[in-house]
């Protein structure tokens, strides 16, 4: 297996080496230089690595065509470090299959950095055998990024087994699975999870048909989230079989960025508390999620920004963060945009409870069309030693003026924050 070590493209690709220390006039007279500048052979002057870089942005089918251009180009395509397979460019799926197999067999031994595999078919089932071949090939050629799209016409996302070779791939950093339902291949499983976990930095799961239920534990079990720094889960329906509290990310020791988009629980059972707490989490975004009947607890100690966008009204959440520095909260509700039928203008929306317990030098809270309940409901817990002694330096509260009710409660809200911090300066802006 050949794996490129340092840079993506070898240094030998530089056309003219800088002569040292100063360029003499005679160097400027160099004939080759003048030819390049005059533009006689432009692309022909490009080193192979630059040509391959350009071909990486094309579909592999188009790149292969360059073999007829000239003798130089005959086998150039076999070294492209990016494989872009798209079944849409073929009139028949069987042709697509032949094309993929042909490319894999003709390619040279150089590394594949990126695989884009898109097999969108008529059948509900995907071609598992072809998928295995492709994954086996790229994982043995040092792949770093894999993007898969297996959308089936009509029915949505076919099930697919993830081959063992993917789990054993030490070079893989980013994985995107779109429109498919992954499960572990039926290989011989030891009782404990495999010692070698995927060293994924970024994982995105985005199936189209939200009917198929997942469990967080199941996903973590398949893919091993311990090394992830970025996790995007989109359009998933989650099944929950635990007790009252769900805290699925607590073992994601390296997770910095988390996006949960269009996530919902199956109707029953629903956890009472859905805790989002990962030790290194900096950025959390929840978008269009429906956590009906479930209390969202944000307890990530290093959180810097929290975005809660286009969620169903009536969501309840609380923050339980020991210390906050430069924390930005952005809560945004649609104004009848996303078709939530029960949301009428003027209707009081109880958006959530916010409990801030400790100090934070600077925090920015921006609400557009939201109501914050505060006052009697928010009582700091007695056991918290530093409650009521927040050291907020500044608090900017931007309030959308859509709901009259909210605007009337401004005094209560500012009183609450003043109560939390004796030292703060407050700036309440109405938009």
């Amino acid at each position: 297996m050949v794996v490129r070590q340092k840079s993506d493209f070898p240094d030998s690709g530089r056309i003219l080496k800088r002569s040292k220390p100063l360029m003499s006039d005679s160097a400027l007279q160099d004939k080759d230089t003048n030819d390049a500048v005059e533009g006689k052979d432009k692309f022909e002057d490009m080193p192979n690595c630059v040509v391959l870089h350009t071909l990486s942005f094309m579909e592999t089918k188009d790149a292969v065509r360059t073999c007829v251009l000239s003798k130089r180009w005959r086998n150039l395509w076999t070294g492209i470090p990016c494989l872009n397979f798209n079944s849409k460019s073929f009139s028949r799926l069987v042709d697509f299959r032949r094309f993929v197999v042909c490319v894999l067999s003709r390619r040279d031994s150089s590394a594949v950095k990126v695989l884009n595999y898109s097999r969108t078919g008529v059948d509900y089932a995907t071609d598992q055998n072809l998928f295995n071949k492709v994954i086996d090939y790229v994982t043995s050629h040092g792949v770093e990024e894999i993007r898969v799209n297996l959308r089936a016409k009509g029915r949505g996302s076919p099930p697919v087994d993830i081959p063992l070779s993917l789990f054993n791939c030490v070079s893989l950093k980013k994985l995107l699975l779109k429109d498919c339902h992954p499960s572990k291949a039926t290989w011989i499983l030891p009782f404990e999870p495999p010692k070698h976990l995927l060293h994924l930095k970024q994982f995105t799961l985005d199936p189209t048909a939200p009917g198929h239920p997942y469990s967080f534990a199941g996903l973590a079990n398949i893919f091993g989230f311990a090394t992830l720094t970025t996790l995007n889960l989109c359009r998933l329906t989650l099944s929950f079989t635990g007790y009252e509290t769900l805290n699925p990310f607590e073992n994601c020791l390296n997770l910095k960025n988390l996006l949960l988009r269009e996530i919902r629980f199956m109707l029953e059972p629903v956890p009472e508390d859905f805790v989002i707490s990962a030790p290194q989490l900096n950025n959390l975004t929840l978008m269009c999620c429906r956590f009906f009947k479930c209390n969202l607890v944000i307890a990530a100690p290093k959180l810097i920004s929290f975005n809660y966008l286009y969620a169903a009204p009536g969501a309840m959440f609380e923050f339980n963060i020991p210390s906050v520095h430069n924390f930005t909260i952005n809560i945004c509700e649609p104004q009848n945009k996303l078709g939530a039928p029960h949301q009428k203008p003027g209707e009081k929306t109880k958006h959530g409870l916010i409990k801030m317990f400790r100090e934070g030098p600077e925090a920015e809270l921006s609400f557009s069309t939201a109501v914050v309940s505060c006052g009697a409901v928010i009582m700091p817990k007695k056991k918290c030693p530093s409650c009521c002694r927040c050291q907020w330096k500044a608090l900017n509260l931007r309030v959308g003026s859509t709901y009259k009710v909210f605007v009337n409660k401004l005094d209560q809200i500012t009183a609450y924050f003043r109560h939390c911090s004796q030292h703060g300066e407050y700036d309440v802006l109405s938009i």
């Binding site: 056309i15 800088r18 094309m58």
Partner: protein
């Protein structure tokens, strides 16, 4: 010399001399985006004018502008202004000067313009001489015939 070094380097100006003699005064931090220039500076610290022997003035101007303005929006519109000849010369420049962002942007742009074109078109645009014999070419076209379906008409 020691005093010069200890001053803030971001306000220091550097002169780049294009192949046709055009001079460009740029801030040090702009010039440093060109890794080739950076290496030059690292080697000879006293240098004030750096020759760029194989990039024309007009292309060096475009490259410098790119470095100053690059962001998502700018990059998306950047390539639309240039014809294929300029794109290729800019790519040669970006490669020589070792500016990875610009090289990526240009490779993408060139790929987009040729991706569904016939080999004849591509040969013309890149000025490639076809040194395949007719038999060799026919053999390749047959071998990869699925690659030649659905190509744009010239």
């Amino acid at each position: 010399m020691a005093e010069e070094k200890s001053q803030a380097s971001s306000s220091k100006m550097l002169t780049l001399k294009a192949s046709d003699g055009v001079l460009f005064e740029v801030e040090l931090n702009i010039a440093k985006e060109m890794k080739t220039v950076q290496a030059y500076i690292d080697d000879c610290e006293d240098i004030e004018t750096i020759p760029i022997p194989n990039v024309l003035g007009k292309h060096l101007a475009i490259v410098i502008e790119y470095i100053k303005k690059t962001n998502e929006e700018y990059d998306a519109e950047f390539e639309k202004q240039w014809n294929m000849d300029d794109l290729q010369l800019l790519l040669l420049a970006a490669n020589y000067l070792n500016i990875s962002g610009l090289q990526e942007c240009l490779c993408k742009a060139i790929a987009k313009r040729i991706e569904n074109k016939s080999p004849e078109y591509v040969r013309k645009v890149f000025n490639i001489e076809n040194d395949h014999s007719p038999e060799e070419e026919a053999k390749l076209r047959k071998e990869y015939k699925w690659a030649f379906e659905g190509v744009d008409k010239d």
